[in-house]
Amino acid sequence: MNGPQDLGGQMGFGPVAPERDEPYFHPAWEKRALGVTLTAGGMGAWNIDESRHARESLHPADYYSSSYYQIWIKALEVLLKRHGFITERDLAAGKAVDPAATPKRVLKAADVPAVLAKGGPCDRPVAMPARFQAGDHVRMKNFNPTGHTRLPRYAGGKHGTIEAVRSGFVFPDSTFSVRTKLKIRSMPAPL
């Protein structure tokens, strides 16, 4: 979707204003926000493309007025509700009230180093040959999918040349939609 995240080429956001000797975290809660997001992701209920889609599905006014970790947390709440791990009642109470879905796994402290070191490689064996070869002239689609896509708006409809053919990779547009499109349709829009 070409939502608020699709920033390439937009104007009006002002100067970059890089901060000197920037700390990794600003308010201390950003540390917990990073960790909660990664450990909740460790349950394996959604993939990275679904979590990106949850972030870009925030209302533009909300997205642009939120810091990056605020965006993460707001999207995480959406994902946790969507997959049955938390409810509005839990959030309103600030503690566990309702039962939760059973996760595939829980990321334990002892396993964190190995999990971070392994990461989540996204290359996959693909049986068919690549459709395009280096040097081929192509034109990008000009489309407006409602799901996640990695084609930014500024590139839509543009002409280009294939520079390199890499091995097979997960296609974010479809891994995301196959798993959760129906589920999302049944959910009220966030905000």
Binding site: V16, L34, I86, K108
Partner: protein, 205 residues
């Protein structure tokens, strides 16, 4: 909950929101709060731009390694044990006399964590993400970097999984330097493309 926590919450509603979420997930047995501590410690003290600087210094010192890094950055970086989350698939882009490279993620904040650590706020914020692809020269000026008009700038907008590492040009006057010493000249921003490698200060003794 302790008094300190309540006090934090009064100061910052978002701190309270994050704390509530962590509490709910912990009470339900869905997350291990100690795992959060390990994650934070990892990115505060273990994984940062020093990793990438070592990769660059090695490429400057060892032509065979530089060639490998150019052809297969994922494997070449793994050899130094700097692979991992958000660095699973890597491409190194080399600055030359003709071309300067600049990395952005216009759609989110894709960034090579395993070699650069967590991204700075400006990398994740709308001003950089929006303008890097239409006004890279103007963006670099804001970092105090003015490139000659004839120098080409190549902007790499990150894909879903491929992460880019800029290999800056080796400064003159560093012949014979050790990799450790060379790595000191390589800043995080130089590996994003918003800076050049630092010039050596004075002549080595």
């Amino acid at each position: 909950m302790s008094h300190d926590h309540d006090h934090d919450n009064e100061l910052d509603p978002f701190a309270a929101r994050v704390r509530a979420l962590e509490t709910i997930l912990t009470q339900k047995g869905l997350i291990d709060p100690a795992a959060i501590d390990v994650i934070v410690d990892t990115y505060e003290t273990k994984i940062g731009p020093r990793n990438g600087a070592r990769v660059v210094a090695k490429a400057w010192s060892d032509p065979a390694y530089a060639d490998w890094l150019k052809r297969d950055a994922t494997a070449a970086i793994e050899k130094l044990s700097y692979s991992g989350r958000q660095g699973e698939h890597m491409q190194a882009v080399f600055n030359t006399e003709e071309t300067h490279n600049l990395v952005v993620c216009t759609l989110c904040s894709c960034y090579p964590w395993s070699v650069l650590g967590l991204p700075p706020v400006w990398y994740k914020a709308p001003p950089y993400r929006s303008r890097a692809v239409i006004d890279p020269r103007g963006v670099l000026e804001e970092f105090g970097l003015t490139l000659p008009a004839e120098k080409k700038i190549r902007v790499w907008d990150s894909t879903a999984e491929l992460r880019y590492l800029v290999v800056p040009m080796r400064p003159k006057g560093t012949e014979g330097w050790s990799e450790e010493r060379l790595a000191e000249l390589v800043s995080r921003d130089a590996m994003i493309g918003t800076a050049l490698a630092k010039e050596p200060e004075g002549e080595p003794a």
